[in-house]
Amino acid sequence: MNEETFRPCLREDGTVDPDSLKPAGQPWVTTWLKGRFSGDDPYFPLDKRGGEAPSSLIVEILEDAGTAHRSTGLIGEGILDLLDEARQRAPEIPPYLKPALQVCQRASLPGTSTWFTEELQDLAAAPESVEERWGTQLVKEILHGAIRQSPGLGRAASYASWRMILNVPRYATLAWMGLAQSFAASLNYMEDWWKACPVTQRQAEIDQFVFTGLRTEGREQVRALLSPRSRSWPAALKSAVDAALKNNGIPEVFGSQGKGKLNAHQSAILGAARRREIVLLEQQQEQAA
């Protein structure tokens, strides 16, 4: 009755043994991933009651195995096959695509890097045609995956694409994260991001950026890294950063929030200038979009 050629093994503790995938062969792994990501896994059935995500088990196997493991290579190649197939089927969106992207967002799969670089190039060159292919939300999922698989390091093939995507308002924040993954490096792109990001989203993104920076770098380091930007950044950006610091109970760096009180005349002029700046930026963003 057991004419099967392969079945993955569980360890004694019930977890999947990455070593057991090694003899499976590429076709088996790709077929298994495609089935699981489409909701059908005969080996490790998905729990519908608790809404188990198909990608979770695969991420766990990859984290367990590590980047150099043979099984990671098999899974990476399998996912690359699925991404390529999905691109051929676009604008039809196969059910396996989103789980495949979710895996790419969470685990390093060097084999998929080229696919993400190609998507970044397409998006940089013609955002509308990429959106026609995938839809805006899926483009964002691809960018979250690209942040891990194809980050915009200075000499990376993806760098120039990320720089161009930084100018596309709806993807500016993701491009900012694609270009810089540390707090210090992020500051180098912050002014460009500020110009492109939709005005309504700026403060929320800055708040999160500062919040995370305080968590990862510490209060003194954040203040030390921000201080040198005093001369180069526009007043509105400095004000937004100060507001974010203040929200976290940290003294301002640029003194742009409570620095002296303006009289009514000064306030009116400043307010009008800011409103004008916002209108102009929104117009620019609409044209760019």
């Binding site: 009755m1 057991n2 004419e3 099967e4 079945r7 993955p8 093994c9 569980l10 503790d13 019930g14 977890t15 057991s20 909701g39 059908d40 005969p42 080996y43 490790f44 059935p45 998905l46 729990d47 519908k48 009651r49 608790g50 809404g51 188990e52 995500a53 990608s55 979770s56 088990l57 766990e60 984290e63 367990d64 989103k98 789980p99 979710q102 967002q105 969470r106 939300q137 964002k140 979250h144 942040i147 891990r148 924040t173 993701l174 994260m177 993954q181 989203q201 929320a204 993104e205 999160q208 950026f209 919040f211 995370t212 968590r215 990862t216």
Partner: protein, 288 residues
């Protein structure tokens, strides 16, 4: 001992189908001794034989729907060469008969339903939609925790229109529960998962549990959950073979069979819906 409905359904099959059913049952029973499976076939078989609410739109005790389900199972089993194909055959039969449990009357349900989800990618999508792209990426990068991100989902920031394209669950039907007098450990993820009898998957990383709350009237097709809805999930237990009666409210919906001594929780399935039905931000119960 199989329940009455199962016996009636099996008896309604043609003779050669009954032989195939016996082969199918033997195969299921054998699966429990096979290595490498994350489930036990003998428990799936026990559940199948106890299923008394797979009635479709038929009346209580009418075995027609169950007969068709068993027929579908044996057809998916016969004529294929590998265990994998047989397993896929059973899964396909279950999918075909999803949402065919006995209907649950609306007035047997409270006005609010709850669904508990372990779906971390959907939780992340929700964070990205309602908060910002950076919050989502920071959670993915483990720079902040999912609990921190959920803490920002206050009622003031909640806009269900932003999660219109996300769903309560993955299939056509989803499992749900509701508040009841016996209570539930709703503030402890591990205990709540045990009370709901969610499969204890051996994992190296912890699972999350998120609570969705929504008006009962915002969803439809309330049904008893059946083995077809549960598929290969052996922790699901079919409702006892008792005709639903207003005089015995406990017979009017399904119940979980918890682990760890927790009280059973009411259980039903209903049609899947967009997360726009939520009556407020989801609650992050915790990790376990």
């Amino acid at each position: 001992m199989p329940c009455n409905l199962y016996q009636s359904a099996a008896a309604s099959l043609l003779e050669d189908e009954r032989e195939s059913l016996a082969t199918f049952e033997d195969w299921l029973e054998d699966l429990s001794e096979s290595s490498g499976r994350a489930f036990r076939g003998d428990q799936i078989l026990d559940n199948l034989r106890s299923e008394s609410h797979l009635l479709g739109d038929g009346t209580w005790g009418d075995a027609s729907e169950m007969t068709e389900f068993l027929r579908c199972c044996v057809q998916g089993h016969a004529g294929v060469a590998t265990d994998q194909e047989r397993e896929t055959g059973y899964k396909s039969s279950c999918l075909t008969f999803e949402g065919k449990g006995f209907p649950i009357e609306r007035d047997h349900l409270p006005d609010k339903l709850l669904r508990y989800s372990r779906d971390e990618p959907t939780a992340l999508d929700l964070i990205g939609r309602v908060l910002t792209d950076r919050v989502k990426q920071d959670v993915i990068d483990k720079k902040i925790s999912l609990a921190d991100a959920f803490a920002r989902l206050g009622p003031s920031s909640w806009d269900s229109g932003l999660v219109d394209d996300l769903r309560l669950g993955g299939g056509a039907m989803v499992f749900a529960t509701f508040e009841h007098p016996a209570g539930a450990p709703r503030d402890h993820a591990g205990n709540m998962a045990a009370a709901l009898a969610l499969p204890p998957r051996p994992r190296r990383r912890k699972e999350i549990l998120v609570e969705f709350s929504y008006p009962t009237d915002s969803v439809s097709k309330y049904r008893f959950p059946t083995v077809a809805d549960a598929g290969w999930v052996q922790e699901f237990k079919p409702a006892a073979e008792m005709e639903p009666s207003r005089d015995r409210p406990e017979t009017c919906f399904g119940w979980t069979r918890p682990t760890g001594g927790w009280r059973p929780q009411p259980e039903l399935v209903h049609g899947n819906e967009s997360l726009r039905v939520l009556d407020g931000p989801p609650r992050f119960v915790g990790r376990y």
